[in-house]
Each structure stands twice: as structure tokens, then as C-alpha cells.
């Protein structure tokens, strides 16, 4: 070990290397760009502004779910309940507005409180009774599903007031119609990215995911961090519910059945480690876009949806393998 002069007079190469985000974000970005190039060559309809706007719109629900999922995965946990909790959230929002004639904003608030309540319940069971997140959220997945079905009597809620669908509306930039929901999703990604990167509570999330015991010994209340994270994830699921309502114009009790795995796919493709403590929410955005680009591109060139699922599965295994191998090396 040598005694080095201080200040930022480090060798240029090492400082550039340390500034560059590691493979975890460059890999997904490269994959996204390659898939965009590939599909542009395959279909001339792919590279249109309209199509991109459509892709973003298609990923916005899973994208916001995946923000919550990223928070949970960064702490070393996993949330299987998010799709079902979202379904319950949208049924609550829409039924409260329709059945009780509640003002839409109040009904939306109730929906958000329900999804946050589920997140809080997950966090409580995980931190107070020390149950594994996988099992807890598998349980709450079923509970949320059953409540959704019982409460809605498996009926779709329709004829919603316009003010509930606001986020599904669009504005135009040139020829391209962009919907408000997509913008909200992008803003949420940026906001969460900033909080995780530049605030003390954000860094504590990483610390807990890295080494919960070390975090505790250094005065970070690990359990409270976990509880807050699961609750905030619940808030994200509520916002995703609102986006889904805006996109589909109904409250659908059968929604959200595959979104838990899709959100995990986005997180993993985005380079966030399932072991916790490393990763980045912008990576998740890229991961969600990769899935969206593949779905959209493969549909454009006429590949059936079964193959799309096959390809997504292979991508996930590749991403997790990379994660595992890079850990073994370190």
C-alpha cells in the first residue's frame, strides 16, 4: 500500500473508471440500444415517434410497479404481491367513486391508502415476526386477490368519471401524442433515483440491503427503513393502479396477475441485484423498456406472444446469471 497524495489528482484512468457506472447499468443500456437497432432493421414502423410513445405507454404500469419492486429488492427483499395489491387498489378507487359517489380524488386517495396499507402489512410481518419476504408477499398476494374478487363480486367497474382518467389523456409534441401517465412514470423514476442517490435515507436503503447488521450497528434503524420501504412500495402500487385505470378506463378485478413477475423481470434486467444493496432505479426503467421494446418489436415483425414470453424468460436468466457471476468474482 502506498501513501498517495490526496485531492482529485488521481490517475485519469482510474477516476474515469470509478465515475463510469459499472456493468450493472451499461449492460442493460447496451441491450436496450441493440434491441432498438435490431427491430429498426426488421420493421420500418418501429422507429417512429408514435411507436416509441406507445412503448412507453405500454410499460408505464409495470414501470411504476417496478419502482416499488426496486426499492424492495435493494433492501434484499422481494415483493410478489404487487400486481394483486394494484388490482385491489384500482377496484377500491373505482368502486368507491361509483358506489359511494365519492369525489374521484377522495376515492383515489382511499385506493392509495389501501395499497400502502398492504405494503405496511408486508413490512410489519417481515420486520416484527422476521418472516421471509417471499413467503409474506406470497400470502398477501392471495389475500389481496381474494379481497379484490369478493369486494368486486368479480365485476368490472366501468363508466368512470373523466377526472379519474386524466392520466390516460395525451398532449402532442409535434406529431407524437404523449400521455400524462408516461410523463408521471418518468418523473417518478427520476425522483426516486435522486432520493436513492443523494439523500441520507436513500443511502440507508443501500446500507440495509448490503449488510443489515452493519447498518444497525452504525445507528441506522434497519427495521424502520424496511417498514418505510415496503409502505412506499405500496404507494407506488397505488399509483400504478391509478395509471392502469386511466389506461383501460375501467376497474378490472382480474388485472395484475402477471405483473409481479414482470416487475421483477424489469428490476433484474435493469441490473439490480436480487441479493440486495446494489442496483439503480434508472436501470429498472431501462429493464422495463427492454421488455417493452421486445414485446412491441416482436409483435411488429409477427412473432407470436408465446415466443415473446420465451425470450423474456431467457433474458431474465441471463441477467441473473451475470449478477451471480459478478458477485462470485468479487
Amino acid at each position: 500500500m502506498s501513501t498517495q497524495t490526496p485531492k482529485s489528482s488521481n490517475p485519469a484512468s482510474s477516476s474515469i473508471l470509478s465515475k463510469l457506472p459499472p456493468l450493472t447499468i451499461l449492460g442493460p443500456l447496451a441491450a436496450l440500444l441493440l434491441s432498438i437497432i435490431f427491430f429498426s432493421l426488421q420493421s420500418d414502423r418501429f422507429l417512429a415517434g408514435r411507436n416509441f410513445s406507445l412503448i412507453v405507454q405500454q410499460v408505464m404500469v409495470v414501470g411504476v410497479l417496478a419502482i416499488g419492486q426496486t426499492l424492495v429488492v435493494l433492501t434484499g427483499g422481494i415483493d410478489l404481491s404487487n400486481g394483486m395489491v394494484m388490482a385491489l387498489g384500482q377496484v377500491v378507487m373505482t368502486k368507491f367513486a361509483m358506489d359511494f359517489g365519492m369525489p374521484p380524488y377522495l376515492a383515489i386517495l382511499c385506493g392509495l391508502l389501501v395499497t400502502m396499507g398492504f405494503g405496511f402489512l408486508n413490512g410489519l410481518l417481515i420486520t416484527r415476526i422476521n418472516l421471509p419476504p417471499f413467503i409474506v408477499t406470497l400470502g398477501t398476494l392471495n389475500i389481496a386477490f381474494a379481497i379484490t374478487q369478493i369486494y368486486s363480486k368479480a365485476q368490472t367497474v366501468s363508466n368512470l368519471p373523466d377526472s379519474m382518467l386524466l392520466l390516460g389523456e395525451t398532449f402532442k409534441i409535434g406529431e407524437t401524442a404523449i400521455n400524462y401517465g408516461s410523463v408521471l412514470m418518468l418523473l417518478l423514476f427520476l425522483f426516486v433515483w435522486f432520493v436513492l442517490r443523494d439523500t441520507a435515507p436513500g443511502r440507508h436503503v443501500y446500507a440495509v440491503g448490503n449488510n443489515a447488521e452493519a447498518a444497525r450497528l452504525n445507528g441506522i434503524p434497519s427495521k424502520r427503513v424496511l417498514l418505510i420501504i415496503y409502505t412506499l412500495a405500496g404507494l407506488m402500487y397505488g399509483i400504478a393502479a391509478l395509471l392502469l385505470v386511466a389506461r383501460t378506463s375501467v376497474g378490472d378485478p382480474n388485472a395484475g396477475q402477471t405483473e409481479n413477475l414482470e416487475s421483477i423481470t424489469a428490476v433484474v434486467l435493469g441490473g439490480t441485484s436480487l441479493f440486495g444493496g446494489r442496483g439503480n432505479v434508472l436501470g429498472t426503467l431501462i429493464g422495463a423498456l427492454i421488455v417493452g421494446v421486445f414485446r412491441n418489436g416482436l409483435t411488429l415483425i409477427g412473432v407470436s406472444s408465446v415466443y415473446q414470453i420465451l425470450i423474456t424468460g431467457i433474458l431474465v436468466i441471463l441477467a441473473v446469471t451475470t449478477d451471480q457471476l459478478s458477485r462470485r468474482k468479487g
Binding site: 500500500m1 446500507a207 447498518a215 450497528l217 452504525n218 446494489r278 468479487g330
Partner: protein
């Protein structure tokens, strides 16, 4: 026993701790003087770690008293002890491997920005980085970049980060639990040098170690723990290694 004129920084009297039938501490005494490196040695089961846990707040003794700077203290958790200025470096190194050295140094004590941003808990990365560089410089820990993830460091360097962190924030005492246990010869030497520098900055150090050569190389006094009590407290230069081991194992008494 040495006669102690200055007030001990940390002292304990008659500490006991029982776990069911097992007596881990059986009226143990303890004394740490200002500016010294005190080694705590003892065979497995002698109550070393129980003693250290009581002093660092990780457990509450059944009876006995602990005094910090002459005032009685009652630690209920490690963070109580931390707030009182006692920092502990645990054997399994409480570091966050994927986070940078600077972040690890300030883990749980991040420097915030000024003004509104600070109220929103926005951290000042620049200042944390600068202080990390300055601090590691003072302790002569030569690590090129504070932006490196801790997992990229060698075992000795990681230990250096953990020791530096505790020394940076300890107002009264630094407790090191087996800091050289997993290290090679060269790295051990580096960590021992670091411990001396911490002492030379005026912080007394409690060193728990099984490594007799290291204990004799670095400590000012040795606390020998046996059967839940302090069997001896001696100046390191007044005792030989075989005698220390003999007291430790009960082959000899003082």
C-alpha cells in the same frame, strides 16, 4: 496490579452475567486508562466477549457497575455506548461492501448539505469525500480513491476503513475485536501501525486478541481474563509471553 493515579476512561466493577446455568461473567473488574492500548486476552469461554459486549452496550450485565470518565453509565444498546463516545469495531467488520469507502466512513452519520437541501436530508458527497481523504491521510491509510467500493479492498484495507471509522467518531474509547484475525503478516503490521496512530491521537484502545505476539508488540497493559473474572492486569513490559499464557490457562496465578 498497577497503581492508577489518573481517572480511568472506562472502568467496571463486579460485572456478572449468567445465561441459565452458565456464568459468563463472575464479578469481573475492568480498567482502561487514558491514552493506552489495553489488550484483553483469555481462553475461549473466559468471558472476554461477554465483558466487551457489556462495555460496548451489546448486552446488559446482571449486576455490577460501569463508569465512563468516573460517571456511572447504563448502556441498553450499542447506540447508547456510541452516543457516549465508545466505538466498537466488530470481528465480522460492519461494512457495506458495495458502498464506497467514503460512504462507509460516514455510514449512518452522513454529512448533509446546508439550508433547505439539508433539511430534506440531501447529502454533501463532496464534503464527505474530502473529509474521507483528509482523515485517511491523517491515519496514513494509503487508499487511492475514496470512491472505491469497500469490496474492492484487501482484508487489511477493509479493516483499516473500519478502524478509521470508529476512530473518527469515538470521543472516548475504541474497542477492536480481533482486528488482525483474518490478516496476513504484512496487513497485520499495517493494522497494528494504525492502532498505534489512533492511540497517539489520544484515544485509548481496547484490543481483544488471541495473537500473543501482536498483543505484546502493541499493548501498554494486558488484562487477562479467566473463568469470568480478571485474573491479572499487568504492564506489558513487566511480563513474559509464557507467564501471560500460564495465567490465562490457570497454570500460574499472580
Amino acid at each position: 496490579m498497577t497503581t492508577s493515579s489518573p481517572t480511568p476512561v472506562l472502568a467496571a466493577r463486579g460485572l456478572t452475567k449468567r445465561y441459565g446455568q452458565v456464568t459468563a461473567l463472575d464479578g469481573a473488574d475492568f480498567e482502561l486508562l487514558p491514552g493506552e492500548i489495553l489488550a484483553v486476552i483469555g481462553d475461549n469461554g473466559a468471558g472476554k466477549s461477554t465483558l466487551i459486549k457489556a462495555l460496548s452496550g451489546a448486552l446488559v450485565p446482571d449486576s455490577g457497575e460501569i463508569k465512563l470518565d468516573g460517571k456511572a453509565v447504563h448502556f441498553k444498546s450499542p447506540s447508547d455506548a456510541r452516543k457516549a463516545g465508545i466505538e466498537t469495531v466488530y470481528q465480522d467488520l460492519a461494512v457495506a461492501p458495495a458502498m464506497t469507502i467514503a460512504e462507509n466512513l460516514f455510514l449512518g452519520r452522513e454529512i448533509k448539505r446546508g439550508g433547505l437541501l439539508g433539511k430534506l436530508h440531501v447529502i454533501n458527497k463532496k464534503q464527505m469525500l474530502d473529509e474521507a481523504v483528509k482523515y485517511m491521510q491523517e491515519l496514513k491509510i494509503g487508499i487511492r480513491s475514496m470512491k472505491q467500493a469497500v469490496e474492492t479492498l484487501s482484508g487489511g484495507q477493509r479493516q483499516g476503513v473500519a478502524v478509521a471509522r470508529s476512530a473518527a467518531f469515538a470521543k472516548h474509547v475504541v474497542i477492536l475485536d480481533e482486528p488482525t484475525a483474518a490478516l496476513g503478516v504484512k496487513e497485520s503490521g499495517m493494522v497494528l501501525d494504525l492502532i498505534r496512530r489512533v492511540r497517539d491521537r489520544g484515544l485509548p484502545v481496547i484490543l481483544i486478541s488471541h495473537n500473543m505476539p501482536h498483543v505484546f508488540e502493541i499493548s501498554d497493559r494486558i488484562h487477562i481474563q479467566r473463568l469470568g473474572r480478571r485474573a491479572a492486569l499487568v504492564n506489558t513490559k513487566d511480563i513474559t509471553m509464557p507467564d501471560a499464557v500460564a495465567i490465562m490457562t490457570g497454570a500460574k496465578t499472580i
